[in-house]
Structure formats: structure tokens, C-alpha cells
């Protein structure tokens, strides 16, 4: 069984931020780059599936430049066999459809049985790349999934809805699943895997065709401080904090 896992780099921004000169991205000096948490859960899910299936391959793919390269090396340290980076003229990272179109190029050359993505990127959270990619590839998409298992060419899993509702479903492979954050605890790779990830040869694929971009990110700005709320800090230690909270509770309950 061959599982392709799409990973992306996300940014954790500091309280004070500055934007790049074009106003469309965070200045990297004010952010910490990490592999998207849900994507690591997708990698873990893929590794377990392939192990249970008695063999196969987990291949990673990411769209972008240095950020994608870093995300792939971090995720490779969990143990996947290899990684592919997709980049080329016309790819718009701020447009999830463009990213999905770029990923499709890799699907076409790898022909996986299953594609996994994280449910959403933790920083910009559009929940769109997976469903768009499945539509382009022409396979069924199961969003917000966990507990994946396969028998022959059928995939069984749970999908989550709001407020704790869970639906157990099955779908024929090939298919695409967006994996829920916290679906599992991603492993720490071995020292050997970490060294291998560092030195891995990551091939670069250029998409031949991309869907037209119908949206444009025109500008970003720092959100108004506290989203219109102004923070009052309670001083005086835990007992003063508890007393104040109790007052607020009584007021709200009255």
C-alpha cells in the first residue's frame, strides 16, 4: 500500500508582529516555523496503516520553497521513506485551490492508494486543500477522520462532526482523508531516521497545469489589539483571582 501524506509548514506568531513589505505575509523574524500539527497526525496514521498492511510506502509531499523543504525534513524524521517538493511558476500559496492543483501533479506521478492531509493548517485554517484535491483527483474525500484501517481496497474510519458526533464510514480506495488534530500521538523518529531526514534527497516536481486562481490575498494587518477587548489583569494572587471569578459567576448567573 502506498500512502501519500501532504504536509505544510505553519507559523506560530509572537504577540508583536511585523509584515513583509508587500503586506501579504508575516515577517519571519516574528514567527516560529513548525510542521502543521494535524499533518504530523496524518504522517503517524499513514505509518501505522502501512505497517498494519504488511508493507508499502509512505511518501511525503509539500508545496512551496524553503518552508516546504523544512517541513518535509521534519516530517521525514518520523520515518517515511521519501519526500517530494512541488514548486513552480504560477503556484499561489495563499490560494488553497492552487496548492491543491500543485499537489495533484505529485499524485499523478506517484499514483498512491490513499492520500492524507491534516484537517487544517493550524495558523490559517481554511480546511480546503484536502476537499479541493480530492475533487481534482476525482476520488471520495472523508474530512476530519481518525482511526483508519484497511482491508483489501476498502478504507474504514471514523469521521467527526461538531459537538462530539462520530460517523463510522467506509470508502473504496483510492481516496483522500483529512486527518483530525490529535487523532493519534505522532512518534518521535529514531536517531537514524533523524540523520536520514537531514541528508535525504528531496526531489522537486513542477506542476504542468494549475487551476486558475479566483481569489487574491490583497493585504494583511495586525488585528486590533484584543479584538476590541482591553485586558484587565487581576493582581493579588490565587485567592484574589478566585474571589473575582466567583463575583463574575454570581453576576452572570443572576
Amino acid at each position: 500500500m502506498k500512502v501519500l501524506v501532504c504536509v505544510t509548514q505553519t507559523l506560530e506568531v509572537s504577540t508583536y508582529i511585523e509584515l513583509t513589505p508587500d503586506g501579504c505575509a508575516i515577517d519571519p523574524a516574528f514567527a516560529t516555523a513548525l510542521v502543521n500539527e494535524a499533518d504530523l497526525c496524518a504522517v503517524e496514521e499513514a505509518l501505522v496503516l502501512v505497517e498494519a498492511d504488511g508493507g508499502g510506502e509512505v511518501v511525503l509531499v509539500s508545496v512551496g520553497e524553503e518552508g516546504a523543504e523544512q517541513a518535509l525534513r521534519s516530517a521525514l524524521s518520523l520515518g517515511p521513506e521519501r519526500a517530494v517538493r512541488v514548486w513552480g511558476e504560477g503556484v499561489v500559496l495563499a490560494d488553497t485551490r492552487s496548492v491543491a492543483g500543485a499537489l495533484l501533479a505529485c499524485i499523478e506521478s506517484e499514483a498512491p492508494d490513499l492520500v492524507l492531509t491534516g484537517v487544517q493548517s493550524s495558523d490559517t485554517g481554511a480546511q480546503s486543500v484536502g476537499p479541493a484535491l480530492a475533487a481534482m483527483w476525482g476520488v471520495a474525500c472523508v474530512p476530519v477522520g481518525r482511526r483508519l484501517s484497511t482491508s483489501d481496497s476498502t478504507l474504514r474510519l471514523e469521521r467527526e462532526f461538531e459537538a462530539g458526533l462520530v460517523e463510522r464510514v467506509e470508502v473504496d480506495l483510492p481516496a483522500l482523508v483529512t486527518v483530525q488534530v490529535g487523532a493519534n500521538t505522532p512518534r518521535y523518529g529514531s536517531f537514524k531516521d533523524k540523520m536520514r531526514a537531514k541528508k535525504a534527497d528531496i526531489s522537486v516536481v513542477a506542476p504542468s497545469t494549475l487551476p486558475p486562481s479566483r481569489i487574491t490575498l490583497t493585504r494583511m494587518e495586525a488585528a486590533p489589539t484584543g479584538s476590541g477587548r482591553s485586558l484587565e489583569l487581576i493582581e493579588g494572587g490565587p485567592s484574589a483571582v478566585a474571589t473575582r471569578i466567583m463575583d463574575l459567576v454570581r453576576e452572570a448567573q443572576s
Partner: protein, 313 residues
């Protein structure tokens, strides 16, 4: 004149609250507002869907459940072809997100999800504002005015449209393909927790540290008569049932008082509680993003504060 197509969110055969909020977002753009009801028995939803500002209701009867997103996609595509809207608006929910990007691809339309504002700019382009990077950044995304766009609006941002409208109602027949995603079993959450109507919610996050601490916190909350919420890691650890989860894949809440203990405030959680009337945050880490969105904060070890609250309860 502009025309919006609002896709109603139907959960267990009932109109979900985000529908009336999406109608308000559509009404703010002016023009006609067509509300589509895609359900097994859409006629039964018409009274609740007759909201002020809705000019027309289009019903689509479908065989499958409201969780069948391939069915939703087929219905939505037929609705767009029939209604010819300038924009399609729906709630940013798991059900809508499951098909919106596919709809955008199928019809070659721009899609913007999780919008907190939507408007037309001076050139009549559709613009949506997104709140990203844990609420610290606003991004403005434009859909070219020459083509319709799809916008999914974040729940609890817009006020709900009021009932009492008298829209025209008509039926649209759509051929629905059999979904490739087959249901085996539906598992409903246990516990009967209803966070959405609570006046006061105490929520606990990763800072809890152990299942025992969560149990003590739950006992304290019960004694105070406040609802018990939690962030994602507590649910993932199996320390509380999923029904307690506040956030994008849990419940979106709007209580009079929301007190967060040991929750850092990831985008996922923030989007589920940011419209609470008063937000109190207790966290030992002053850099927790949730402090940006709080009215009252305390930089304290949550265990010390919970201990004191237990004494007062």
C-alpha cells in the same frame, strides 16, 4: 442587483443557528437573498427558514443524511446553476467545509472559508476578511467581481436574522448520485451536555496536566452550577467526553461568562468562544494568545486558582 444564495446548515433534520447568521451576512450585501434548504424533508424547515431579509426559499428534497457531503455538493451545484447567484454563503462548519472547496473547483469559483467580515469593495469585488494566526492577523481576500464567489462565514460572528419573513417558496428537483462514502454506524456523544445555551462556562485546557486534575475541576464546576468545557487536547487524551469540547470541531459557544483555565488559545479554540460576552483567562504563560482576546486575565498557576475556587464553591 446582487443576489446571494445562502445554503442552510441542517443538522439532524433541524435548521442550525449558523443559517440565520449566514442570512444576515447575505442581507448586508444587499439585493436578493435566496435561502436553499437541502434536506430529507425540507418543507418542514420552511417556517424556521422564513427569516426577515430572505426573498425566496428553494427546497431540495434529498434521500441521504445531512452528513452526506457528496449529496450536498450535487445539490449545491444544481442550486448555483438554477439561482445564478453573485455569491454563495454558508456557515464555516464541518458539513459545509466538506464540499465547499469541491464546489469551487467544479464550478471554477473562488472560495473563502472562515470569514469574519464580507463586503463589496468600490470596484464591486467580493471581499472577505479572515482572522488568522491565532486571531493576531486579519487577512483581506478578494474574489474577482466578474465571477460569483463562495464564502463560508465563521459561526457566531453575525447576529441571527429574525424570524417573521414571508419569502416565496419553490421546489427544485435535483438528481442526487449515490455517495461513495458509506455510513456504517453513527455514534452520538454521551452525556447530554449543552454548552450552546449555558450562561457560564468554565473550560480547561492542556495546562490541566492530568486526568485527576480534570476530574477535580469538573467537580468544582458542577458545584458552582457552571457548564464544563474543554479544549481539544483534553478530549484527545480521553479525559472528558467529546461533547465538552469548545472550538471549531466542538461547540461554538457564546455564554455571558467564559473562564478559560490553562488554554493557550489556538485558532481552533478561539473561533469557538471569541464572542462570549466576558472572557476571563487564567494561565501562567503571559504569552498565551488567548490573553489577546480576554477582558480579564490572571497570570497564575491554574492549579492554585482552582484550589481557591474549590474552597469558595
Amino acid at each position: 442587483m446582487t443576489r446571494s444564495l445562502v445554503l442552510a446548515e441542517v443538522v439532524d433534520g433541524v435548521l442550525a443557528p449558523v443559517t440565520a447568521q449566514a442570512v444576515t451576512a447575505a442581507v448586508s450585501l444587499g439585493g436578493e437573498v435566496v435561502l436553499a434548504l437541502v434536506a430529507q424533508d425540507p418543507q418542514s424547515l420552511v417556517p424556521d427558514a422564513s427569516l426577515i431579509g430572505v426573498t425566496e426559499i428553494v427546497t431540495v428534497a434529498v434521500p441521504g443524511s445531512d452528513r452526506d457531503h457528496e449529496q450536498s455538493l450535487a445539490a449545491a451545484a444544481a442550486l448555483v446553476a438554477d439561482v445564478q447567484p453573485d455569491q454563495v454563503i454558508a456557515g464555516f462548519t464541518i458539513r459545509s467545509s466538506a464540499f465547499a472547496a469541491a464546489l469551487g473547483h467544479k464550478l471554477d469559483l473562488g472560495v473563502i472559508t472562515d470569514a469574519i467580515a464580507v463586503y463589496r469593495d468600490d470596484s464591486q469585488n467580493l471581499v472577505a476578511t479572515r482572522s488568522i494566526y491565532a486571531g493576531r492577523v486579519r487577512a483581506h481576500v478578494v474574489i474577482d467581481g466578474a465571477r460569483p464567489g463562495i464564502v463560508l462565514v465563521r459561526p457566531s460572528i453575525w447576529e441571527p436574522a429574525d424570524p417573521g419573513g414571508s419569502p416565496v417558496v419553490r421546489v427544485l428537483t435535483v438528481e442526487i448520485p449515490t455517495s461513495r462514502v458509506r455510513t456504517i454506524e453513527l455514534v452520538r456523544p454521551s452525556g447530554g451536555v449543552d454548552l450552546s445555551s449555558a450562561d457560564v462556562i468554565f473550560s480547561i485546557g492542556r495546562g490541566a496536566g492530568s486526568q485527576e486534575n480534570v476530574a477535580n475541576f469538573a467537580a468544582m464546576a458542577a458545584k458552582l452550577g457552571v457548564a464544563l468545557g474543554a479544549s481539544r487536547p483534553i478530549i484527545d487524551a480521553g479525559w472528558l467526553p467529546a461533547a465538552h469540547q469548545v472550538g471549531q470541531t466542538g461547540s461554538t459557544v457564546k455564554p455571558r461568562l467564559y473562564v478559560a483555565f490553562g488554554i493557550s488559545g489556538a485558532l481552533h479554540h478561539l473561533a469557538g468562544m471569541q464572542n462570549s460576552r466576558t472572557i476571563v483567562v487564567v494561565n501562567s504563560d503571559r504569552n498565551a494568545p488567548l490573553f489577546d482576546n480576554a477582558d480579564i486575565g490572571a497570570i497564575e498557576d491554574i492549579h492554585d486558582v482552582i484550589e481557591q475556587l474549590t474552597l469558595l464553591a
